[in-house]
């Protein structure tokens, strides 16, 4: 096989290496904590994603259109401009927050420090 080796075989094997029962390895605590913090961040960001696009851009577009700023009815602006700006920012915030979370838990990719820049 010449396939690209998945990370877990080269450096990802979690201690202890001799195939632990997956449900209760001794280091389960940090894993749960890391994962639940990841999920919390994800849910917050997805809530913003939904409110800005489906909320302001579609469900509330008509009342928001009563407000006009710089020629743009506000609902129309969210639907055609604002939501897209927010999407870009959400992904950047996610990447930055995950960088912090990874290094806090020591699971950041050491060999690839230059890769993100």
């Amino acid at each position: 096989m010449t396939e690209v080796t998945p990370d877990k075989e080269t450096r990802g094997g979690e201690p202890p290496p001799a195939s632990p029962p997956p449900a209760s390895p001794p280091d389960n605590g940090w894993r749960k904590e890391y994962w639940s913090r990841n999920l919390r961040l994800m849910v917050i960001l997805l809530a913003i994603w939904f409110i800005v696009s489906f909320g302001f851009g579609i469900l509330l577009v008509e009342p928001l259109n009563e407000i006009v700023i710089a020629g743009f009815p506000l609902g129309f602006w969210f639907a055609q401009q604002g939501s897209i700006y927010v999407f870009v920012i959400l992904i950047l915030v996610y990447a930055k927050m995950m960088d912090r979370l990874d290094s806090q838990f020591g699971v950041d990719e050491q060999e690839n420090q230059e890769a993100g820049k």
Binding site: T2, V4, G71, F76, D102
Partner: protein, 559 residues
């Protein structure tokens, strides 16, 4: 040869030479290079490549025109084709990169079973193929208008060049070519948009300045028998706008040719930042498109409103030759404009020409018109190349070597990948010259099917360990069958009658319901059958953490 033709030729020859040179520099000798560029693409470059791959002939050529005629409801495309990247970045890309192999069917194969892998490979080929046909057609339109070439010759020329560098360089060649193509297409999109914005409002930032003409555009639209431009839900009911936007978003996050691009980054962190850069580069075009739509529509309406039919501006004659603009026979003066051939309006304008014609409509100089033509070609070619790669890898890697010949050498695999690619090019040339009548509707199929099949299977595969193969297979099959049935029920394809929409839901929006059906079926069936094996649970556990844990200062992680 007119001035516009000369400049178009210069830009197209120059940009094509650059693409071929890059492809020659990055030719590959191994399957890892061919399928995932050796996982060595820098983050920003990968972002630009994803953007070029994603933005097709439809985004570049058709979207602003569609928005111009849909008005406020054009948001279905603007939000639908960008919002999916948030889902991709948060729910899919980093995890699939950590798992790190070659294709999307390969992930569902490892996570669930070989049967699911085969279903996924076939779905990936169908979805990608419907897309390629549209790209070849888009390239053909550019050639026929600007170089006065036959559409057939245009399609063959574009396909041969794409085929050359895709077969030679695989993913590596395609990625670096796409970086160049992104540069060409974004320049070609922004320069005329900035010029038009400056000309019409005195502010050279189209995103900001198109607000100033909206009131004027609303007024003239009503005068000429069209909907008020900024009025929401004039073109589609609210529930349908909601469902179509959602279907396009989750369809985006489930499209194999988009997901596979995150396999090419150097790390999990690189995959997250690639998603950011990709959406950033896409947003440059997507926030400009509604401005181009509004400016061009106002220009067009003012150009023709109340003008007598034999004194129309020259761009109408140029485009009438392609059959994409028609002046109604009985019209003396132009008092109504529409994009629908059956509307009976005095002037019928096809959506597809608004971007390509916008420099001419605004009276911009010939070199800019030529640049836009090269940009349209770049958009069509970059997307087609990415799709051909998915077709080739799904066929050779997931079907042929899994199902037929398992003991092959690297050389044989690479050769098979190249042969599959060559065949895909030939078939797409044929389909581009003789496009099936239902191409436009087929795009709705692609998104709806991707939304109802891949997205739930992948997301549940990552976030729910209890999800098993029986559940995933049942969910994918039910989701796809449900979606396809409603599409065939409402669209006149395959010779069936078009039935009215149920609850105002259009066939483009049904993918959302299909995805919900898929989620529910997968969860219920998984719960009723045995849980997956320990190895699979361990695999899912492993893709959730970017790398092995190293020693950290005591207390930081445990708090």
């Amino acid at each position: 040869m007119s001035q516009i033709q000369t400049w178009t030729l210069i830009f197209i020859v120059a940009s094509f030479s650059v693409y071929l040179y890059i492809a020659w520099r990055s030719r590959v000798k191994e399957t890892a290079g061919f399928y995932v560029a050796g996982q060595g693409i820098p983050t920003i470059a990968n972002g630009a490549a994803v953007a070029a791959d994603w933005m097709s002939a439809a985004s570049f050529i058709s979207m602003a025109g569609l928005i111009a005629f849909l008005g406020s409801d054009g948001t279905i495309y603007l939000m639908g084709w960008t919002g999916g990247y948030v889902l991709l970045a948060l729910l899919i890309a980093p995890y699939l990169r950590k798992w790190g192999k070659f294709t999307v069917p390969e992930f569902v194969g490892d996570r669930y079973s070989e049967t699911v892998r085969t279903i996924a490979a076939v779905a990936a080929i169908i979805i990608s193929f419907t897309y390629v046909v549209g790209q070849m057609r888009g390239g053909g339109i550019v050639f026929s208008r600007f170089l006065k070439l036959d559409v057939t010759q245009g399609v063959i020329l574009a396909a041969v060049i794409i085929g050359l560098y895709a077969v030679l360089g695989g993913m590596k060649g395609i990625t670096w070519t796409q970086v160049a193509q992104y540069t060409v297409l974004i320049t070609a999109y922004l320069i005329p948009a900035i010029a038009v914005a400056q000309q019409m409002t005195g502010i050279p930032i189209p995103q900001v300045s198109f607000g100033q003409i909206l009131a004027e555009l609303d007024a003239i639209s009503i005068e000429m028998g069209l909907n008020q431009y900024t009025e929401a839900f004039a073109a589609r009911p609210q529930i349908d706008v909601f469902l179509v936007t959602m279907a396009l978003m989750i369809g985006t996050a489930g499209l194999p040719h988009v997901i596979v691009r995150f396999y090419t980054t150097k790390s999990v962190r690189g995959a997250r930042y690639s998603a950011f850069w990709a959406l950033f580069f896409i947003a440059l075009l997507y926030t400009t498109a509604p401005a181009v739509g509004a400016f061009t529509k106002l220009n067009l309406l003012q150009d023709v409103n109340g003008i007598s039919a034999n004194a129309l501006p020259s761009w109408i004659d140029n485009w009438a030759a392609t059959g994409l603009v028609t002046v109604s026979d009985g019209a003396q003066t132009i008092n109504s404009v529409s994009n629908s051939p059956t509307s009976g309006a005095d002037l019928i304008v096809n959506n597809d020409i608004l971007v390509l014609a916008s420099p001419e409509i605004a009276g911009l100089p010939a070199p800019i018109v030529g640049l836009v033509a090269a940009g349209g070609m770049a958009a069509a070619m970059s997307t087609a190349a990415g799709l051909l790669l998915v077709i080739s890898s799904s066929f050779s890697h997931d079907l042929y070597f899994r199902r037929v010949k398992r003991d092959s050498t690297d050389k044989q695999r690479l050769l098979a990948g190249r042969i599959a690619m060559g065949l895909a090019v030939l078939i797409s040339i044929y389909a581009g010259i003789n496009p099936p009548a239902f191409v436009a509707q087929v795009v709705a199929f692609a998104f709806g099917l991707a939304a109802a099949s891949f997205f739930p299977a992948i997301v549940l595969g990552i976030f729910w360990k209890r999800c098993n193969a029986t559940g995933a297979a049942a969910g994918m099959v039910t989701g796809m069958a449900f979606t396809a049935t409603y599409m065939i029920y409402t669209l006149p394809v395959f010779g069936t009658a078009a039935n009215p929409h149920i609850f105002d839901i259009s066939p483009e929006g049904i993918g959302t319901i299909g995805a919900i059906v898929n989620f529910v079926v997968t969860i219920v069936v998984s719960k009723m059958t045995a849980p997956p094996s320990d190895e699979i649970v361990e695999m899912v556990e492993n893709i959730r953490y970017p790398s092995a844990r190293r020693e950290v200062t005591a207390g930081t992680a445990a708090d």
